[in-house]
């Protein structure tokens, strides 16, 4: 058999049928469902009289609209409440497992999938959410889809797909102290651009990737879509298997042994080739801060805000001018001079226990600047519980951070957690689009460590020299 990439192996094992022109009916092992992109899909099923093919292959959770304050008070916004109630009704009507708003297992859909052992190597996983790429950290082919395709998968457990191209993103070497997976992925997007990965599935390889924890790999794969790639993946290894073993929805006993044997084969063959390869040295990656309104508009903390006058490409110059105007930044100002009003630590990118441990320990004994409002939103009820058992909530609260309930929160501000016009936020989330965190709000994407340092100092600082 010809040498295959990790992607090739997963793709081949999910082909139900293929047309001569390459149009493929691809089997989908698992689907995650949330309240925002599913109501119209369930409505479609009802209107056409169709039933889900395998309800037990689907897991649902409300996350985008849930309040991060006291849940006992209910949801103030009637539209948000209606959307969550609709999800509950649809799951009941169609026999789909739901982790409701008051279930300790509730959380951001891309946090709870791995946490529950729903996410497994070698599987195809979809969700009506572009950050489904997160699950690729386990060596799964996981990608975001629209609502019509959510309905398609519910009804048929399949999707019609054309085979994407493969891109190897290779990062070798050792990351500088306190530089994290977030800095790696921001640096990659800064290098290839927000459309650099369009049409590709990325596989992250190299010694710096291998050295990342599972949480770090999730952060990395999560933002593949910000580089244009629908999916990103890391081959499973011993660490992956250790993470999965014993999780509630993972296979048990003999079945786990059998699965483990198959998962150990899931890696790119030595002589396989990719359609494209991008390489970086880990040592070259400084802590990253985005300055613009697209995740590719990013630079190292030791750099300056770009000057549009030095950009020769007209498209790029116009986009930069527009972004700087929106962001209220002056060309050539040092990144460390940017003052902030808000700090958000959370989102499907950076709200897992490892992120919170690091952030809490950096915040320990310090205090959020008087001019800054900072909040921490754990990725799930279980992450919150564990953090509290470890006393992380106390460290955060003593340092002046608000400690909230789990949800998407200010990553996209569909709930009550919103920036006001002109407010500037250091955010561990994934998108700095105009208005993403609230109309007129200004978002700077950073790692959890950089967010803590900015919260304490009131402006961005180089975490490498801060401690």
């Amino acid at each position: 058999m010809a040498a295959q990439t990790l992607f090739d192996k997963i793709w081949e094992s999910h082909v139900v049928r293929a047309e001569p022109d390459g149009t493929t009916l691809l089997y989908i092992d698992r689907q995650l469902v949330h309240e925002v992109t599913s109501p119209q899909a369930f409505e479609g099923l009802k209107l056409s009289g169709r039933q889900p093919r395998r309800p037990s292959a689907t897991l649902a959770v409300p996350d985008h609209n849930v309040p991060t304050t006291d849940r006992a008070l209910g949801i103030a916004d009637p539209l948000s409440a209606k959307q969550i109630q609709t999800l509950e009704e649809n799951c009941r009507d169609f026999g789909i497992t739901l982790f409701g708003m008051n279930d300790i297992r509730q959380g951001v859909v891309h946090v709870i999938g791995p946490e529950q052992g729903f996410t497994l190597p070698g599987t195809t996983i979809v969700c009506g959410d572009s950050h489904t790429s997160t699950h690729g950290a386990f060596g799964a082919l996981a990608f975001g889809i629209g609502t019509s395709e959510v309905e398609h998968v519910l009804a048929t457990q399949c999707l019609v797909q054309k085979r994407p191209k493969t891109m190897e993103v290779r990062v070798d070497g050792v990351l500088p102290a306190l530089c994290s997976a977030k800095d790696v992925i921001l640096a990659i997007i800064g290098k290839i651009g927000t459309a650099g990965g369009t049409g590709y599935v990325m596989e992250y390889t190299g010694s710096a990737i291998r050295a990342l924890s599972m949480e770090g790999r999730m952060t990395l794969c999560n933002m593949s879509i910000e580089g244009g790639a629908r999916a990103g993946m890391v081959a499973p290894d011993e660490q992956t298997l250790a993470y999965i073993k014993g999780r509630p929805l993972a296979p048990k006993g003999q079945l786990f042994e059998q699965a483990m044997h198959a998962w150990q084969q899931l890696k790119t063959d030595a002589d396989a080739s990719y359609d494209m390869t991008v390489t970086m040295r880990a040592e070259d990656i400084a802590p990253q801060v985005s300055w613009g309104t697209s995740p590719g508009m990013v630079t190292g903390i030791d750099q300056r805000v770009p000057d549009p006058r030095t950009i020769t490409n007209e498209n790029q110059r116009q986009a930069t001018e527009r972004a700087l105007e929106y962001m209220g930044l002056i060309p050539n100002m040092p990144m460390t001079d940017i003052k902030i009003d808000k700090v958000f630590i959370g989102s499907c990118t950076n709200s897992r226990i490892e992120d919170l441990r690091l952030a809490a320990n950096l915040a320990k004994g310090k205090h959020v600047a008087k001019t800054v409002h900072a909040m921490v939103v754990p990725g799930s009820g279980l992450v919150k519980q564990q953090a509290e058992q470890e006393g992380l909530d106390r460290l955060f609260k003593e340092a002046g951070f608000e400690w909230r309930e789990a949800g998407c929160s200010m990553c996209l501000a569909m709930n009550a957690d919103v920036l006001r016009p002109g407010e500037r936020c250091a955010s561990t989330s994934n998108r700095n689009f105009e208005g993403r965190q609230g109309a007129g709000g200004r978002t700077h994407l950073v790692s959890p460590a950089m967010a803590v340092a900015a919260a304490v100092e009131g402006h961005f600082v180089d975490i490498r020299t801060w401690i």
């Binding site: 094992s13 139900v16 022109d21 149009t23 009916l25 089997y27 925002v36 992109t37 109501p39 093919r53 309800p55 037990s56 292959a57 609209n65 916004d77 539209l79 948000s80 209606k82 959307q83 609709t86 026999g95 497992t97 729903f118 497994l120 599987t123 009506g128 959410d129 572009s130 975001g144 889809i145 629209g146 019509s148 395709e149 309905e151 398609h152 009804a155 048929t156 457990q157 399949c158 019609v160 054309k162 927000t194 459309a195 369009t198 910000e226 929805l249 296979p251 048990k252 079945l255 786990f256 059998q258 198959a262 498209n315 986009a319 527009r322 996209l412 569909m414 998108r431 105009e434 208005g435």
Partner: protein, 213 residues
């Protein structure tokens, strides 16, 4: 789904690169449980000035583009969030076709699910049309899916590529789920084979996640 064969329509210009779906339709309009009525959210923030009033320079606020059915825009249109509300809002406003040098993958897919044809032309072709549409009131294009062509008012003809399967589905307005269900036997055969070789993928997540149901 409404079929798309050919249209001749008024063109509206959106001269920006990397337009993300958060701009096409902001989050507050995603709380709906319906597919319709989303036009009021289309480019909601860009339609307004800082004081909250309508921005007369934005194309959607100009009477000459009110009846546009073709949106002409720039590279990487529809990047970011997978929200299908983006094509729903465009459709609700009356757009049946989007022309750009390139599109983000998920948005591109979502268009075909909703009777919208996304057309990728070369950057210089789009640029030239962009200049013409600004300069020419009533500028119209003809987009023909069968022949995969875009024709300008001066009869310049541009060819575009489209996947044959998607083209067929859009041209005939086919129900994609219905098409897949015609392969029910193949799906069942696949499942039986897969269950034998990877039984851990067929555990019942509702009742007994650790064992095969």
């Amino acid at each position: 789904m409404q079929a798309f064969t050919a249209i001749t329509g008024l063109v509206a210009p959106l001269d920006r690169v990397n337009v993300d779906t958060d701009q096409i339709i902001p989050k507050q309009f995603l709380k709906t449980i319906k597919r319709t009525g989303l036009r009021e959210g289309l480019f909601y923030d860009w339609r307004k000035q800082k004081d909250g009033s309508q921005d007369p320079s934005f194309f959607l606020n100009q009477p000459r583009f009110q009846d546009a059915t073709i949106l002409l825009t720039r590279d990487n249109f529809g990047c970011g969030s997978s929200r299908e509300h983006a094509p729903w809002a465009l459709l609700d406003q009356g757009f049946r076709c989007v022309i750009a040098p390139s599109f983000a993958d998920i948005f591109y897919n979502n268009c075909f699910q909703n009777g919208i044809l996304p057309v990728a032309l070369k950057a210089d072709e789009v640029l030239s049309m962009m200049n013409d549409v600004m300069a020419t009131p009533g500028y119209r294009l003809t987009v023909d899916l069968a022949n995969q062509t875009v024709t300008t008012p001066d009869n310049s003809l541009f060819h575009f590529e489209v996947d044959p399967f998607r083209k067929d589905c859009l041209y005939r307005g086919l129900d994609a789920i219905g098409l897949t269900l015609q392969h029910e036997a193949a799906i069942a055969t696949y499942e039986a084979r897969r269950k034998a070789e990877a039984p851990w993928l067929f555990t019942d997540l509702c009742r007994n996640p650790g064992a095969v149901s």
